[in-house]
Amino acid sequence: MGDTFTKVKITTAFEGKPNARAIKTYVDNDGYAGLKKALGMQPGQIIDEVKASGLRGRGGAGFPTGMKWSFVPKDDKGAKYIICNNDESEPGTFKDRYIAECNPHMILEGMIIAGFAIGANKGYIYTRCDFFDEIKWLETAIREAYDAGFLGDNILGSGFKFHIDHYAGAGAYICGEETGLLSSLEGKKGQPKLKPPFPAISGYLHRPTIVNNTETLAAVPWIINHGAAAHKTMGTEKSPGTKLFCLSGRVKRPGVYELPLGYPIEKLIHEDAGGMLPGYNIKACIPGGSSAPILTAEELKGLTLDYEAIAAKGSMLGSGAIMIIDDSMSMAELLKVTVEFYHHESCGQCTPCREGTGWLANIMTGIMAGEGKKDDLQRMFEISRNMEGKTICALSDAAAMPTKSIVTKFGAEIADFIERGKRA
């Protein structure tokens, strides 16, 4: 294997360039070339090209992007919307902000192309409020794009009209869930909407809406510019293209890595990131954000970073947030912060999620206070099992999956902790 991995950078192409974020830098380096090409195509052709590229949603679920776009009713001439999900709220994830840092125009270009493909004339970027700089950069980029004629009522003389507004959320994890985001954007409490209907049919203000992750949209200009076939040469058959991985934990060089899908995780950790800091060993790894089931160090052997390979190990690629858990960390502590996070963030409409996340956190509070009971882990497993697949959105599953995997794979350590009634 070794050096057969592509060095092509798509979403981080402007990493380290001087004046990287300026529109001039972008345009001088093929920026908005994808848009120009797209405006000469039929909308249906663009959707077909994205389908053929094999691009899958980078927000967590990995849903095929072209297919999602094709769900928008074609004969509906009314208002439609493109939403860029830049909420980046999954713990361990810090990639979307990095795209905005490297070059925000790529995001705008992806949105305009997507808008042209589905017949939308309006787009919103929804960014979590804590990203002060990124918000500033995105808003500057929007102004620059208007001035350069890439946004407006008649884009590059094509007659196509597209506008983008920026919206800052208030920092709720649930507003990263696409329909929670839409509720928030509509000015309501950030709560996911009951599906069906799905957003592609009835989304923002009950109109057809496509919500895509920032990284997904940012990959679109390259695909249109270079063609689906070029995209398919990178990555694996079922997971083509490159993906941003957010590596954290006690490795020597944590950070964002753009790598082709199918890249060996051990190579990433030990070569690209330089291995573990001295004195620390890998105990476990959360491969796709805090919602992904945990993998043991053992399970990382030979594992490649693509949707299928990680799913085969019972976890998921998710947002691409790889969190290395080292041998200095307490699994009880890890479980506690995990369930507390979901307890804090559950919107509370669905009973299994509202009560389940609270119950899990409540039990962990007891365990941490030395009041744990012998059957607590079994109970947590059962509670989690019954929170899964039962709710409006996947937050409930996102709490259940890591819990189940941690109590299953590291039950002995936590049981020992409960037994001794104090920190392991």
Binding site: I174, K189, L194, P196, H343, H344, E345, S346, C347, G348, Q349, C350, T351, P352, R354, E355, G356, T357, G358, W359, N362, I363, T365, G366, K373, R379, E382, N386, G389, K390, T391, I392
Partner: protein, 500 residues
């Protein structure tokens, strides 16, 4: 014919119109799917996640309330997987519930209790302290809210949004800290508050009026039509026959009212309780002394007085519109057709705004049977314009006035004044259930009447639609009669005393 679809529910083929949900279809088939957030009069929220059903060929259970039936769909409500999901959903609902059934008014008609018996029966696994939330909140004139008992089904929020359109309630905070409440400094003000008590599947909203008065399993409910205004909502009256007392009124699904009724209507039981009612008949002897008497005694007195006058010139009927059409018919049959009485006056509240309407249910005509009285007056040969003719009685020259009072004093602000006027006349026979008639020392003759919950008959509402009274409670007043029974007694007295 609208388009139909055929699907299987627990193995049985069912045909429903397209767009029907599995929940709706199951209700029609009497197949119980446990549910909390779904309500037939509100939009679908899909939040309690209780109504899980198995659809063959689909990997996950689905919620029946948001699942439209399609051709060939094979739905099962009773697989092991579905049953386990129901049990767990209930357990989640109860994890932080205070379980204070012994002091909760909802006990006996609570979704949590009922479902525990039907789909729960698990051993609680909750070993940790529960989440505590505010209790005994004053959120409106007729309501007390206990947010700890609340299961956050959002029915009440949707009711305020969709039915009253006030948006008076919201869910504040999130996760298991979420609580139902009004906006800061505000309270629910409208006339439909107690519907929240009905639709709340648990004891979170309780009725200030009904609170702590009675265990519901001691109550008997009987269908009736609300006498509070000319809308004529279908209702159930809840009473305790053993003690001959009444406790509350709830809406029953009906054409006029859908699922709801107003708060004014809720109080239409209080005038029926003994403490405010005329409990004995009254007569006045030849020496002018007033006596309590029994029914027969009062009939005899009135019968004699009628026999002594010329009905055409000397008798006047003063008739309110809060009684049934059947009663009016018998009244006019006897007095107009048989005796030839010519002076018949409508008795209405002078301050009423008869055409006012709040857009939902409550109307300014606080008489349940204005239309019915009009119909019977017309039958009997009188003009049919609705108007208050009270003031004509005094100058009518009648020696005997039969005054059939409104049944519900609270709907007539001028009633006391009007009663005082009447007691100034020569002789008035009050047919009434109002206790104040007996308390007035100047009343000379009175016959206690049955209330709407104690008789059979029909009200015709503003729209010309009939509302039935058909399942009477025993009258708490031994001598209470309806108009038809009084007329029959007068008739038989008259016949047995030689007149025809």
């Amino acid at each position: 014919m609208s388009e139909t679809v055929t699907f299987k529910l627990n193995g049985k083929d069912i045909t429903v119109s397209k767009g029907t949900t599995v929940m709706e279809a199951a209700r029609r088939e009497n197949v119980e799917i446990p549910h909390f957030c779904w309500h037939p009069g509100l939009s679908v929220a899909g939040v309690c996640r209780f109504c899980m059903v198995k659809v063959e060929g689909r990997p996950k259970l689905e919620i029946a309330c948001n699942l439209q039936a399609t051709n060939g769909m094979d739905v099962k409500t009773d697989t092991d997987e579905a049953k386990s999901a129901h049990k767990w959903a209930l357990e989640f609902h109860l994890v932080n519930h205070p379980l204070d059934c012994p002091i909760c008014d909802q006990a006996g008609e609570c979704g949590l209790q009922d479902y525990y018996m039907s789909v729960g029966k698990y051993q609680s696994q909750m070993t940790r302290p529960k989440v505590l939330k505010p209790k005994m909140l004053d959120v409106g004139r007729d309501l007390v809210l206990d947010t700890e008992r609340c299961i956050l089904c959002s029915r009440c929020v949707r009711f305020e949004e969709e039915v009253t359109k006030t948006g008076a309630l919201g869910i504040f905070d999130r996760g298991d800290r979420a609580i139902i409440g009004t906006y800061p400094g505000e309270k629910i003000e409208h006339n439909y508050q107690t519907n929240l008590v009905d639709i709340c599947p648990v004891g979170a909203f309780t009725s200030r009026d009904f609170r702590f008065k009675q265990r519901v399993w001691f109550l008997k409910d009987k269908p009736a039509t609300c006498p509070g205004c000319s809308t004529g909502c279908s209702v159930d009256v809840f009473g305790k026959p053993e003690t001959r007392s009444y406790f509350r009124i709830k809406p029953r699904k009906g054409e006029a009212n859908g699922h709801w009724m107003c708060d004014k209507g809720r109080h239409m039981y209080s005038h029926l309780n003994q403490d405010v009612r005329l409990r004995t008949a009254l007569t006045t002897d030849t020496k002018g002394r007033r006596h309590d008497t029994n029914f027969a005694g009062a009939i005899e007195d009135l019968g004699k007085r009628i026999a002594a006058v010329n009905p055409a010139t000397d008798i006047a009927l003063l008739v309110s519109a809060q009684h049934t059409s059947e009663e009016y018919k018998s009244l006019f049959n006897f007095f107009v057709q048989e005796l030839g009485v010519k002076k018949v006056f409508q008795w209405r509240e002078p301050t009423e705004k008869i055409d006012s309407f709040d857009g939902l249910l409550y109307r300014g005509d606080h008489n349940a049977n204005t239309r019915g009285l009009q119909n019977e007056l017309k039958e009997a040969g009188f003009a049919t314009e609705v108007k208050n003719e009270f003031d004509f009685v005094a100058g009518s020259g009648a020696k005997i006035v039969i005054a059939i009072t409104p049944e519900i004093p609270s709907t007539c602000p001028s009633l006391e004044k009007q009663l005082n006027h009447l007691t100034e006349l020569d002789f008035v026979s009050f047919w009434t259930s109002a206790g104040s008639v007996g308390d007035n020392k100047k009343s000379k003759h009175a016959l206690p009447m049955k209330g709407f919950a104690e008789k059979k008959g029909t009200f015709i509402n503003h729209d010309g639609k009939p509302g039935k009274l058909e399942s009477p409670f025993p009258c708490p007043v031994v001598d209470g009669r309806d108009i038809t029974e009084i007329v029959a007694a007068l008739k038989s007295w008259r016949h047995s005393h030689g007149s025809r």
